[in-house]
């Protein structure tokens, strides 16, 4: 072949060719879809801040929910108390079980068929609709409490139990990820110094993974606090504070208010005051999720071991 006849233009991309135009079109579409995807995020957060922000006053955190014809004032002090108690119950149940289960999966059962199956079940469990978890908690706690004659069964404890089931797979997964980040040399060093498995895990591996586990757990808690469906027929709702000071732990056998159910109840009411409170409660739920997500993001981006 003669070099002089070589036409370098053939190697250039011609701007008008259908292939180039198609590429530009598709690239434009992906930019567009990213824009469309972020639009609802901005719209939801913007509206929640705009509508809820103006209603957040000090009284909102202490007063009880307004009745239908109360035009002004009122708050959701009882719902905040309820949400905190529900989440604490859920955390007390799910954190020990979840963390130890993850310890088995990463430390002792690693690579076995059994661990694989357990991981599979855990992943499927995390996809179970939250309303089904509510039905489950109803069957396990509410019906049994009712049969035992303890109140009518609808109780704070049942709500906390339902939330714990939702948190469980998230905590297992988060802990597993954190434990995997601990380098194997750390374990080898501990075992080399004569530590038993128990000592290695509890004195060396878990402390090393602790910051990451705490971040994952905090995220799980923030998510659980916004869950509504599993509480609708377990913890129900209450117009008042839980009578903890009078009844002590027995108060957990009674229904409780929660921020999430309050938003649901007030969202469809025709009364402006109640609607405003629904927005204010939404703002608190959204801020909680946003802040924990951002903080955990910053915390996990600095991995030091």
């Amino acid at each position: 072949m003669n070099n002089d006849e070589f036409n370098a233009d053939l190697l250039k991309r011609s701007p008008g060719s259908p292939r180039t135009l198609f590429g530009i079109l598709m690239t434009g579409l992906t930019f567009l879809s990213a824009g469309i995807a972020l639009l609802p995020l901005v719209a939801v957060i913007g509206f929640v801040i705009a509508k809820g922000g103006s209603r957040i006053k000090l009284g909102v955190f202490t007063e009880l929910p307004p009745t239908a014809y109360q035009v002004d004032g009122g708050g959701f002090g009882n719902a905040i108390q309820g949400t905190i108690i529900l989440v604490v119950i859920a955390a007390l149940i799910s954190i020990p079980i979840g963390v130890l289960a993850a310890v088995y999966l990463t430390e002792f059962g690693k690579g076995t068929k059994l661990a694989d199956w357990i991981r599979f079940f855990t992943n499927v469990l995390s996809g179970v609709p939250s309303i089904i978890v509510g039905v489950f908690a109803y069957g396990v706690i509410v019906l049994n409490l009712k049969n035992l004659g303890i109140g009518n069964g609808y109780s704070t404890f049942a709500g906390g139990f339902a939330l714990s089931i939702l948190m469980l797979p998230i905590i297992v997964r988060a802990t597993e990820e954190s434990l995997k980040l601990v380098p194997p040399e750390v374990r080898q060093a501990a075992v080399g110094l004569g530590a038993t498995n128990f000592q290695t895990v509890s004195w060396v591996v878990l402390p090393a993974a602790l910051p990451a586990i705490i971040t994952g757990t905090t995220l799980a808690i923030a998510r659980a606090a916004g869950e509504t469906a599993p509480l609708l027929f377990t913890a129900l709702f209450s117009q008042y504070y839980l009578p903890l000071s009078e009844k002590g732990p027995n108060a957990l056998y009674e229904p409780t208010a929660s921020l999430a159910v309050l938003v649901y109840n007030f969202a469809t009411r025709p009364f402006e005051n109640q609607k405003e409170l629904a927005w204010a409660a939404s703002l608190i739920l959204v801020l909680m999720v946003l802040l924990t997500s951002i903080i955990s993001r910053i915390a996990t981006s600095r991995k030091v071991y």
């Binding site: 598709m26 690239t27 992906t30 567009l32 990213a34 995807a37 972020l38 995020l41 719209a43 939801v44 509206f47 509508k51 079980i97 979840g98 130890l100 289960a101 088995y104 002792f108 357990i118 079940f121 499927v124 469990l125 996809g127 179970v128 609709p129 939250s130 309303i131 089904i132 978890v133 509510g134 039905v135 109803y138 069957g139 396990v140 609808y154 089931i165 469980l168 004569g194 498995n197 128990f198 895990v201 923030a222 998510r223 916004g226 869950e227 509504t228 609708l232 027929f233 999430a260 938003v263 649901y264 969202a267 469809t268 629904a278 739920l285 959204v286 999720v289 946003l290 997500s293 993001r297």
Partner: protein
């Protein structure tokens, strides 16, 4: 010096039996809890299944084909709810799949510097973190009025097509707004997992395609997307599983009417919204009928999730 050697003891002592038992006990304890986590799924199936037995015996398979929900005469059927569950999820996927894939491609190509990419990935994931009930509240206040106006226009122009065959209800609630909010809620699932599947592809694939003269988009469409296909399908299945069981936003937006309409502008209801609305006040056989419908939803989502999990797993193994 002899006294020293007399005092010195072997540096390593055999472990006490307490130590050994503690150690063994600890391993068993972790195993027990790991089994407990997996066991919850089975426990759940048993509890919901047992609760559903009275209704299953009374209504049998006919429950799926009846559209009666009559607490006075104890006649129950979940056909409209099954229909609504499927239709609202399909609407959600119709919107969420193309946009989610677009986002996944946008974030797996080198359009943006990595630092900005990471921020956008985070923002998309935040969409999944906003509580469902907040989406519902927002939907009622913001989306429904807009969709009512748009729906009215669609009805005027395309009313002759059955899926737009009814005018929007007076409240504006219906399948379409519910499906749209569902789309927003499942979009992060599709985008994040499809992106994972795309960026975990070996770089040789793209290099080979481009080396043979493919443009960026020819490489994406002919090589990369087919290679990541099972991961993308897994992502869509996971999103479907979420959409089928999503409760609060749907309950607030779908209108909760016990009817079957071909029109997506008409109100409907889903199994989850039925449970959310009726469960707290139900007793007797109605509880069992609700458990029966919960079992149906559970079975459908379980099937979808298991398939999705298997697909996504296969990708992770490659």
């Amino acid at each position: 010096m002899t006294s020293l050697s007399k005092d010195s003891q072997p540096a390593v002592q055999p472990r006490s039996s307490l130590d050994k038992n503690l150690d063994r006990g600890f391993i068993w304890l972790t195993l027990l809890f790991a089994l407990a986590v997996a066991g919850v799924l089975i426990w759940m199936t048993v509890v919901v299944g047992i609760g559903a037995i009275p209704a299953m015996l009374k209504y049998g398979v006919g429950f799926i084909f009846s559209s009666n929900w009559d607490a006075v005469n104890d006649e129950y059927g979940a056909l409209p709810q099954l229909y609504g569950t499927l239709v609202s999820s399909i609407i959600a996927l119709i919107f969420a799949v193309p946009i989610g894939l677009g986002v996944a491609l946008f974030l797996s190509e080198d359009y943006l510097p990595t630092r900005i990419q990471v921020v956008i990935v985070f923002l998309v994931e935040l969409l999944a973190a906003i509580p469902s009930v907040v989406y519902g509240l927002w939907g009622i206040a913001v989306l429904v009025p807009i969709m009512k106006a748009i729906g009215g226009q669609i009805y005027n122009l395309f009313g002759w097509i059955p899926i737009f065959g009814t005018p929007p209800s007076a409240t504006g609630l219906g399948m379409l707004p519910a499906g749209l909010v569902l789309a927003v809620m499942v979009l992060p699932t599709i985008a994040a997992i499809s992106r994972d599947a795309l960026i975990s592809l070996p770089p040789d694939l793209r290099q080979a395609a481009v080396g043979l003269g493919a443009t960026r988009w020819e490489a994406i469409i002919k090589i990369l997307v087919p290679a990541a296909f099972s991961g993308i399908v897994g992502a869509i299945m996971l999103a479907l599983g979420r959409a089928l069981g999503e409760t609060m936003a749907v309950t607030l937006l779908i209108g909760n009417s016990n009817n079957i309409s071909a029109s997506i502008l008409a109100p409907g209801s889903t199994i989850s919204s039925l449970l959310a609305l009726k469960f707290a006040e139900a007793d007797g056989l109605q509880v069992s009928a609700l458990m029966y419908s919960a079992l149906l939803l559970f079975a459908i989502t379980l099937l979808v999730n298991v398939l999705a999990e298997m697909l996504v797993r296969r990708v992770q193994r490659i």
